[in-house]
């Protein structure tokens, strides 16, 4: 048996699952099956997956709490890093392919368009989280690590609002994401209050 345990054996599978949307997107782009406005499709789908994976990352804690399946924590870093990968892809597609040749417009867009400002801020917030996701950084930052990584809540909120704000009139889908984000926040709220009363020991980063 090359894997330590069942969770370690499942990880490569989750890794491949997380890569599937990217593979599908690449295949569709190369085969011209993204429809009449392929650039918009690339933007929307990469953004969708960044948000979904970020929300999935935030769902780990409530999942452990309600199901009691604590090993779920060992998938969290991978999900979070894939959220970052898709967010980077999303930003790259916007800057390189969509704005292609009109880069002078970029800074104006980031500064003037609230939804682009928020989207960019969400990505910026994810950068330090990805940078400090290693075992070594976790150890070095100690209890600060947990505090820093709460930025993920804000990044997800910004990401969802970025979506809400860009829609013209039909707000049902972004509202669903906002609902999920709110539910995930509510699901951890009482726990947090309990921790605040008790010792901080339970907040220490989990090693996986």
């Amino acid at each position: 048996m090359i894997f330590r345990d069942r969770i370690a054996a499942t990880k490569p599978l989750v890794f491949i699952l997380c890569l599937l949307p990217l593979a599908h997107l690449t295949w569709s782009a190369l085969h011209g099956s993204l429809g009449p406005d392929p650039v918009a499709q690339l933007e929307h789908r990469s953004g969708d997956w960044a948000l979904r994976l970020l929300l999935a990352t935030l769902a780990i804690t409530p999942l452990r709490r309600f199901s009691g399946w604590h090993p779920a924590i060992r998938f969290r870093r991978m999900l979070g890093l894939f959220a970052f990968v898709y967010a980077c892809l999303h930003l790259t597609i916007y800057v390189v392919i969509d704005l292609g040749g009109f880069w002078s417009q970029l800074f104006g867009e980031i500064a003037k368009r609230p939804y682009i400002t928020l989207g960019f801020a969400a990505w910026l917030l994810l950068v330090p989280l990805a940078a400090t996701s290693t075992q070594r950084m976790m150890r070095r930052l100690g209890r600060h690590w947990q505090r820093l990584h709460r930025l993920a809540y804000l990044a997800a909120l910004f990401g969802v609002l970025h979506y809400v704000w860009l829609v013209k009139a039909d707000h049902r889908e972004p509202a669903l994401y906002l609902g999920i984000w709110s539910a995930l926040m509510l699901a951890r709220w009482p726990r947090r209050a309990r921790y605040a009363r008790g010792s901080g020991a339970a907040m220490a980063p989990v090693r996986n």
Partner: protein
């Protein structure tokens, strides 16, 4: 009850010389040229008939005149223009209209004419179109969402129709209303907009020769998702002004309420002229993504947006002295 439509005035009904000289174009558009070639019935000297990009089939329309008002820019392929639409009555996704509009019945159709005109009432579409030569106009179409297409429309100047009802001096605006058929338009179940969809033009905009009442595109009848059987095309304005499946036209004295303006007055003005200098509050209107051409099209689609969508020479005078930031 449908009444008979006022007759087309003689100046419109006589065959213009251009029609005679363009009879070859007419034949081509009818698909007869291709048929003649296939059967070997043309002389060797005849210029080759270009193979149409879109298959000819029932619903092909005859055209009296063809004008390229898009400066020779590459056209949007037919599948893109008919599968990437904003027609919220059939859903808000871009492919929803093509998917959900099959139950919509564009025939029989009648058009109600109301308001400040000498002749009003309900008229059968056949009477509206009778004696009205169709022309093909290739226009740029700029969506407020910052993408654009180049589309060969088939129709006739709206002015030709409006004149027949003799608007009175009190008519200052023209208000349009889309059909309201919840059984055939599933999107109406969602109150995304204050249905039915409404649009409007100032009378001089409506009478401008570029303003087209459209019954077809790419040489054939309008598909449901593009606004069958009758829609408006105002090439210097954002696409949402081009109201689809028109059921009612009213001459009004006051500026009519329009669907998007009612939904978000700060974002969509009544005029909605294409203007790269006035941004949508949430996004830039300086550039646009052009959906045109074929093949691998991931790069280089972004182009600069032109004032009045490139029709400034023809229409800018309509807005002389107006603050276009205020009247956006």
């Amino acid at each position: 009850m449908t009444r008979s439509v006022p007759p087309v005035s003689p100046s419109v009904s006589i065959t213009p010389q251009a029609v005679y000289h363009n009879r070859r174009t007419i034949l081509k558009l009818l698909g007869l040229g291709a048929a003649a070639l296939a059967t070997g019935c043309t002389s060797q000297a005849a210029p080759p008939v270009p193979v149409p990009e879109t298959p000819r089939r029932a619903g092909t329309l005859a055209v009296s005149r063809r004008t390229d008002d898009a400066g020779g820019e590459a056209q949007t392929p037919y599948p893109d223009a008919t599968q990437y639409n904003n027609f919220y009555e059939f859903g808000t996704g871009k492919s929803d209209p093509a998917t959900n509009s099959s139950r919509f019945k564009p025939r029989p159709w009648s058009l109600e004419i109301a308001g400040h005109a000498e002749k009003t009432g309900r008229f059968a579409l056949e009477d509206i179109l009778a004696g009205q030569p169709l022309e093909e106009r290739i226009y740029r179409m700029r969506c407020v969402e910052a993408w654009s297409m180049v589309i060969p429309w088939l129709g006739f100047p709206l002015a030709n129709l409006l004149k027949r009802f003799a608007p009175t001096s009190r008519a200052k605006y023209v208000a349009f209303t889309t059909a309201d058929r919840p059984a055939q338009m599933p999107g109406l179940a969602d109150r995304i907009l204050d249905w039915p969809y409404r649009e409007g033009l100032r009378l001089d905009e409506a009478m401008h020769p570029l303003t087209l009442l459209v019954v077809g595109m790419y040489g054939r009848e309008l598909p449901n998702q593009n606004g069958a059987p009758l829609r408006l095309v105002v090439p210097w304005k954002y696409g949402f002004k081009g109201i689809k499946s028109i059921a009612r036209i009213e001459f009004t004295e006051q500026q009519p309420r329009t669907a998007w303006n009612v939904a978000a007055p700060g974002e969509y003005g009544f005029y909605a002229n294409v203007n790269p200098a006035v941004d949508h509050p949430r996004w830039s209107q300086q550039t646009e993504r052009r959906i045109a051409g074929t093949g691998f099209n991931l790069f280089g689609n972004r182009i600069t947006t032109q004032p009045f969508n490139g029709y400034a020479e023809q229409v800018a005078h309509l807005y002389a002295g107006m603050d276009l930031r205020k009247y956006f």
